[in-house]
Amino acid sequence: MKNNIKYLAVLALGLVACEPEFDNPIDEAGVYSSGEADFSNYVALGNSLTAGFADSALYITGQENSYPNILSQQFALAGGGEFTQPLMADNTGGALLGGTQILNNRFVLAFDADGNPGPSIYAGAMPTTEISNNLGSSFNNMGVPGAKSFHLAAPGYGNVAGVAAGAANPYFARFASSADATVIADAVAQSPTFFSLWIGNNDILSYATSGGVGEDHNVTGNIDPSTYGSSDITNSNVFASVYNDLLAALTANGAKGAVLNLPSVTSLPFFTTVPTNAVPLDAQTAAFLNSQFAAYNTQILPGLAGLSIITAEEAASRQINFVAGQNFVTIVDESLTDISTIIQGAPFNLDAQTAGLLGQLRQATSSDLIPLTSAGNIGVDLTGNGTLITGVSVPLGDADVLTEAEQAAVASAQDSFNATIRALAAANGLAFVDVKSILSQAASSGIPFDSGVVTSTFVTGGGFSLDGVHPTPRAHAILTNAMLEEIEDTYGAILPSVNPGDYGTVTLSNEVN
């Protein structure tokens, strides 16, 4: 009997140990591989896109869904190590400096009393991230919202003392290793075995989002970025030089990496959501307005053309005409001849205010773009009696419109930057990720995933967060897949993809003011 029990005990133990096991478990060697790359210490450099900034703010879940963080989770199955991020203190977004809020809370999608959705500033909690509270270490995700190419190599960019005056970046101040640290030096100090670099977007984007009020340094020829204004376009030679230096520093120890090019900023919902023909008028109002502009159209413009002060072509482009239905807004176009002084004299003898309104006036066309943030500047009744309405009788300012000429300046710089990125990627044997094509597909046919199609349509498209510029988690997942594919192709790695359907889009909340 004792023997019998002994046999049964052995049998029982043997079977308890029989836990299920796959023939090819994915967490064991042989399923995935890093190829020629080494993912053990991946460091990501970039701007807000790399940081996981979304809904006009940086917050924890956005950071967790940043493409570098998603990528690192896939790398983890092929030798990737821990991936650290300078997580914010909350999901409110926004931040404090010395206890005073200096950065706004995030946007959420709120439904008003009529059931209409719209982005609103989240008001469910106060921000708790204190910028002056340095986190005391560097992180694998070195993405710094707001950074332009040359900022990554700019000493003092993370000096908290400079944040209040706008001389330093509040996000980098949280984890800069010292007051005069640079992003690139702090990244290289981590001895990355693999890196990603996505920089240059802000070198053109800030000019575009500000409606082109900044300077284009490809026109000025200024190659000293320390003198650049925040809304300027970076000189292409400056970009090329900086980019080359960044890659030289990152590859100095033989690290492999991936670089990403720059999508067309003008296809962002930030520019494509507000129509330029945003003014509805009835026939009576249109006729009244046309009578107001009759002298401008039929006397002033032809007269000035006759005097060769403006060309016949400019005179034609400046005609103002309203119809019953949707009308293009009136705008100030700084590329037009300023006629405000001339028309105060003979033979027109206009008063200063009227002359000022007509100075560089034209009506927008379908080729112009209106920034999302300018939507509220259209149709404002300045006097309350209907005589001065913005976008109609009072033109929108330069900052409220990205004109065709300004778009061309942006596109020209973008093309130049992208040529640099592609050439340097090839020269350094790096994976090259064509984000421009991905965004272009999102903006045209859309990008299919398992339960729908991701498009660039604001709010509902699924690709863009509520600021109209930054991607949703789902778009980060799509971007991650593109990176995985290029990294596989370039380095012979085998990596699992991610399912964009597992990643969300915009966050609903009615906790708003």
Binding site: M1, N3, N4, Y7, L8, L11, A12, L15, V16, C18, E19, P20, E21, F22, D23, N24, P25, I26, D27, V31, Y32, I60, T61, E64, Q73, Q74, L77, N91, T92, V108, L109, A110, F111, G115, P117, Y122, G124, D450, S451, G452, R474, L495, P496, S497, V498, N499, G501, D502, Y503, G504, T505, T507, L508, S509, N510, E511
Partner: protein, 417 residues
Amino acid sequence: MKKLLLLVLFALVTLVTYAGGYRVSVQGQRAMAMGHTGVAVVNSAELVFFNPAGLVYLENKLNVSVGASGIFTDVIYQNSEFGTSSETDSSVGTPLNLYGSYKVNDWLALGLGVYTPYGSEVTWPTDWAGSHLVNNIELAAIYIQPVVSIKLSDQFSIGGGPIYVTGSVNFNRNANRTTTDIDGNRANITIDDSGVNNWGWSVSAMFNPTDNFRLGFSYRSEIILEAEGGEATFSNFPVTTAPGVPANGTTTFDAELPLPAELTIGLSYQFHKKWLFAFDYNRQFWDVYESLDLQFGNGATSINPRNYKNSSVYRFGLQYDATSKISLRAGYYIDESPVQSGFFAPETPRNDSQGFSGGLSFAITPKLAIDASFFYLRFEEVDASYDSYQENGESVPFGGTYKSSAFAPGLGLTYKL
């Protein structure tokens, strides 16, 4: 001793019995040890479950069998396309059985059984890749059944009786793949109800053509558990007035869960004075489980097609009376899954399996015996998916590779007077 080794070997190389869906076939330690055969085995009060008609052929006036098993199950999941993997929290299910029979006279026996033929306990890591289908589920149904057994002749008897069922359910899953509150916590729904009661019945017959050969038949009716006004808790939904987004908090739910009918036919053959062979065939009428539909008090609904098919189990058992005090048993069974292709939901991740069982009885006294059993269920790994989950009107399959195992040791007592 050689024979013992042979038997152990038989248990090792062959496979055990458990059944697909949420059927848990562990209704007696002696039967379990023999591959859960028993419709034609006259051995103990376990007949209350296996074949009430046979109770009248038991030699003793009073028979009592009690037992319990601990079922250790593990399910692993992986998807190599996306690099996701998960493993269920090794849960321990404890099916119980308690049977008694009393022979009133030569042709009439009465019995009572309490047993747990249906149940499921699966706990995946919260927010795992398939969390929009299930995070965790705990189902239990307790059957309470009085039976009567009537001998029509020495060759033929009939039996049966009403069944009272009391069931409970606790089920949690995420609302979908992406909805969260402001802090990224996944929106989820828990349903909880207990004391869900209903009635069913069973009938059976036994035929003994010769002294050492028996045939058995048993049928247990389908019972639908209808949960009405159970508690549903909605958690981590965003605070919004957006249409279609439910409010957080508790509401009610209604749902129906079928406990399918089961038909068993089988035989036993005493081919040597010390050896008994048994075979059972189970047909489980799972086609009643078409869809798990939940209707919530807040107006929300959840439709989950299941589309199960009827399935069969083939069971083989062997008993060897080693000494006057010790009986050794072994068994093997092939268990077909009722889950059809494209309906492999991770709440009951069962594919076809093979069971290996073994056990023994040791008579402490002529009246009292200890029964021990174990079984091990072996599943092949399977690439499977559940294709009926929908988002935005699109079917979004959830699939991957699954592999399960189950091991259950059990102990019981048999008392005869």
